[in-house]
């Protein structure tokens, strides 16, 4: 196990800059998830840690040792690929033992290591099969088995579940988490799926356009997104956003939205009176009540039943908002009353997109 330190890492392909200076410290035994949309540079960063991409500038240290110029084979890390990348001409057992055979490990130790990994992953009955005779989920397990037999310093996962169907993905997610708990290995996991990120991570690194947007625990990112990107990316259904004006007059701090509706705030914010701001609120934080309750009255435009509850599309002040309610008996064209509780509002500077202090 090892810590991984990334200092001002940059990557450029000719004139195209993909990573613009990433700083990140991953502690020993930590499970860190890099999350972001396609093309945000998360996979590139992972491949640079693995040694599969050159580093344009900056420094990567694994366990305190600078690895910039080390070959992948000398970094002592294991990687699970999105495509699994199993060796098609080798059996499951040969696939799993390849790294140990390359290191000239004693035969008895190889046998013990692969049988231990096989038992852990439920692969015992498949050891003599070739990859083509395995299902997607089984291939995925072999790929993980290949990574764990060697007890490397760190595990790297490059979107390992994105080729599986939804049910299998959920199951494998649980298995990866269990595996991490039992091995306690330093792991870096790349995904574009924020649910995977939330459920697996000790810490999430949200990335966009080659920059780290926020680093924190899953609940940190959920409860206190640092900017509009993180606010919109983490959470499903996504956070509602609408524009408003900050008012700090004698009646107390408030937001004025289109149509003159005033939403009172709990406290003053460090921003000028009359400044344009973007307000965010999660669908599950909008209480939905009957028409005679106090609040903003609006009509339901669309109803999305999720089984657990209902997602309502409403248009209280010219912007469509989604509200999640556990009430399953709402139908389209109903009128409801919503409230926008000040404690659940997220305020962002409309220009910079940064969270308001």
């Amino acid at each position: 196990m090892a810590s991984i330190d990334i200092a001002d890492i940059r990557k450029a392909y000719g004139p195209v800059h993909v990573l613009h200076g990433i700083d990140l410290s991953i502690h020993d035994g930590e499970f860190v998830v890099l999350v972001g949309p396609s093309g945000c540079g998360k996979s590139t960063l992972l491949r640079m840690i693995a040694g599969l991409e050159d580093i344009s500038a900056g420094e990567i240290r694994i366990d305190g040792r600078r690895v910039n110029d080390l070959e992948p084979k000398d970094r002592d890390i294991a990687m699970v690929f999105q495509s699994y990348a199993l060796y098609p001409h080798m059996t499951v057992a040969e696939n799993m033992s390849y790294s140990l055979r390359l290191r000239r490990t004693a035969k008895e130790r190889i046998a013990a290591a692969i049988s231990g990994a096989a038992t852990k992953l439920g692969l015992d009955a498949l050891m003599a099969r070739r990859p083509r005779a395995l299902s997607g989920g089984q291939r995925q397990r072999v790929a993980m088995g290949r990574a764990i037999v060697r007890a490397p310093k760190a595990f790297l996962f490059d979107e390992p579940l994105s080729n599986l169907d939804a049910r299998l993905r959920e199951q494998m997610r649980g298995e990866i988490k269990k595996l991490h708990q039992s091995l306690g290995a330093t792991s870096i996991y790349v995904t574009h799926d924020q649910i995977e990120a939330m459920t697996l991570a000790d810490r999430i690194v949200a990335m966009n356009a080659g920059l780290v947007q926020q680093v924190g625990s899953p609940l940190d990112l959920y409860d206190r997104p640092a900017n509009l990107f993180v606010a919109g990316f983490i959470g499903s259904p996504a956070m509602n956003m609408f524009n408003g004006t900050y008012c700090a007059n004698s009646a107390g701090p408030a937001i004025e939205v289109q149509g003159g509706t005033r939403i009172p705030l709990q406290r003053q914010h460090q921003i000028a009176d009359g400044a344009a701001i973007t307000v965010g609120i999660r669908p599950e934080h909008i209480p939905v009540g009957a028409t005679n309750d106090a609040g903003i009255r609006c009509k339901v435009e669309l109803v999305e039943p999720t089984g657990l509850g209902t997602i309502l599309h409403i248009r209280p002040f010219g912007t469509t908002l989604k509200a999640f309610t556990l009430n399953r008996d709402v139908s389209g064209s109903d009128a409801v009353t919503i409230r926008l509780p000040a404690e659940w509002l997220h305020l962002f500077d409309a220009q910079s997109g940064q969270r308001l202090p």
Partner: protein, 278 residues
């Protein structure tokens, strides 16, 4: 579709294949037929599908009294070495073109394509002029060099397309598992490219085996003639020994057939199935 329609479709399909096979194999059949027809029956019996009596005299003559065994040996040496050298060079070059980005790659590809654009006849004189002072005309080595030079570009493209078909993830996984790039190439990628290597070997071998133009121009003594040039020796000023020529032709087919029989099991595709998603 009804049953009768399906049967009719099958019959039409099989008949079409049959017609194709007959058309494709008839010249070979005629080669065999003429080679076993004794000289006295060759012109006297008219057009018949099989002579009234067959003999192996032509074969015996070709093997015992002609230079054919020597031509044959020369052809095996030239084609074998050409196929071997070209496949090694093309594998390395194809791998580099498939996997690495390097300065001038684009121009190298253009240059290789360019070499394929000239008719061979145009190049014979300059090549002769180049090889002559080096003492490489009238020599098997010279012929091998020319054949290698002409086959490497196409074989490289062929091998490159096979390497392109193998996911990059596989060698990256091997390199992370602890292999050097060369080891990842030799232990993971190369075994998966066997069909490609077999196809390239087969292609180059047959191309060199049946090449006539350069062999004819660069070789002047029968001691270093290859088999296509040798076949022409059955054509004399006043007559053509069709029987012997055909017998030699049949004999010359044997190594090519054996070669393909040997490599055909590597030509099967689908070896990479299961490597990656899907």
């Amino acid at each position: 579709m009804t049953r009768s329609k399906r049967i009719a479709g099958t019959i039409a399909h099989r008949s079409a294949i049959l017609v194709y096979i007959v058309v494709a194999l008839f010249p070979l059949y005629w080669l065999l037929k003429v080679s076993v027809t004794p000289n006295d029956l060759l012109y006297s019996e008219g057009v018949r599908l099989w002579p009234s009596h067959a003999s192996v005299d032509h074969y015996l003559f070709v093997l015992k009294h002609s230079d054919f065994p020597r031509f044959f040996q020369n052809s095996v040496i030239v084609s074998g070495s050409t196929a071997f050298i070209v496949t090694i060079l093309a594998s390395c070059a194809g791998y580099a073109l498939s996997r690495f980005a390097f300065r001038g790659k684009y121009w190298i590809v253009i240059l290789m394509l360019l070499t394929q654009m000239f008719p061979l006849v145009m190049l014979i004189a300059p090549i002769f002029k180049m090889l002559s002072p080096l003492g490489l005309t009238n020599s098997l080595t010279g012929l091998v060099i020319v054949y290698v030079a002409f086959n490497v570009p196409f074989a490289t493209f062929l091998m490159q397309s096979f390497f392109d078909g193998i996911p990059k993830d596989l060698e990256e996984a091997a390199m992370i598992d602890g292999a050097t790039r060369f080891r990842a190439f030799s232990q993971i990628i190369l075994p998966l490219t066997l069909p490609g290597i077999a196809a390239t070997l087969g292609f180059v071998f047959t191309a060199a085996w049946s090449e006539l133009l350069f062999a004819l121009m660069l070789i002047s003594s029968s001691g270093v003639s290859t088999f296509p040039v040798g076949l022409l020796s059955f054509v004399s000023k006043f007559s053509v020994d069709f029987g012997q020529m055909m017998a030699a032709g049949v004999l010359a087919l044997i190594p090519a057939c054996l070669f393909f029989l040997f490599i055909q099991r590597y030509l099967v595709q689908g070896l990479t199935a299961g490597a990656v998603k899907g």
